[in-house]
Amino acid sequence: MNALRSLAAIVLFSGLVTAAAFGQTAPPSQLGENAALRYWSAFAQMQDSAVMSGKIPGLDDPSVKELFDKNKAALDTMYRGTMLPNCDWGIEYQLGAETPVEYVRKALILGKLNALYVMYLEKQGDTEGAVRALIAGLRFSHDVANGGTLFATEVGAALLMDHLPMIPNIVHAGISPEQRTALQKAAAQLGPTGLDWQGAVKRELAQYRGTDHHLTAQGLAALSQIAPLYVSAMSDASVLSRLQSMIASAPEDLRKIMPDPRRVLASEQSLENHLAEARGLLQ
């Protein structure tokens, strides 16, 4: 019996030692491969971003070049982030309405800055730089919406629609076959609708079940019926009128927080139109 116990102890000890050894030699955590971390670094590197909402004299003004020079490091960090396959903003949805999404505001500013930079490079005749910045901007805009609610998705869409109109200018200025292929690939990677609108709606409406929205039992019951239809509307606009009727007859507590589906669908449709135009030009 004692011999059996000793044997068991030896086996257990050996197992623990082996596990510890493997733990030490295992590859480093994949957390560093998260694009969101690079993007946060880029936000921290941004300088004089106030210019983005203020007044700028025009792309030819020396102060604009100075702005881009100051933010070159931030833009380069963002470009490196777009090379990573995964982007997880780590949104703490359990905090309900208090969930911090400051990254969306910072991303909007950095994305706008990049769109302006694409325009600047194209005007300077730096096609290669413009294509590189444009491809990164498309990917970044897509990542901004990743895992977010409707708000982050609207911002991602707005950024995409700032970048996509640059494609015709760059194409008409003359690009190499390799650059065209790279742009085609970047546009294709955005997917058919550009962004995950259905996922955004699901996450948005799931938030309303939280206690901080104080929905009544009737409101929660109505939400259970409306949510699947709202998600369907993102891929099938024919259900919009039925969805609107359901929202109109929902209890007031739910009705007043429900995002207008017409507005959401209009954003989705506008982005799809921009995408279709850009893809057509790149054929």
Binding site: S49, A50, V51, M52, S53, G54, K55, I56, P57, G58, L59, D61, S63, G96, A97, E98, T99, P100, V101, E102, V104, R105, K106, L108, I109, K112, L113, A115, L116, M119, T149, L150, F151, E154, V155, A158, D162, P165, M166, P168, N169, H172, Q207, D212, I257, P259, R263, S267
Partner: protein
Amino acid sequence: MHAGDENFEVYLKQFRPRAPEALPAVTGARKTRRALALGAWAAAILLMAALVAANWSVKPTTSNRSLHPLTIGAANELLERAPSVKAAMDELVRDSQEKSVPKSQSAFEALSEETVNP
């Protein structure tokens, strides 16, 4: 010994220490008066603090606003309040700014004015 000294000694021997009087007792009424006085002072101080706080006019500056991190609740409120999504985006960026460059054309205007070649 002089007669004067003897007289003085007799005089001293007449000294009888008096029993000390009891310390003035703190009566109930006195306690109440003290408590009332303290309460009045505390109330006066609180009132002054409240008046100062009420008249403290801190104008909300853009830099103050930007100190508050954006939350999902605030973002949804912004989307609901703004006349359009674009207006919401503009307000979002404006709120984050500490300063602006006093020139003629905003970056967003430059973007929206960008012409697309046919």
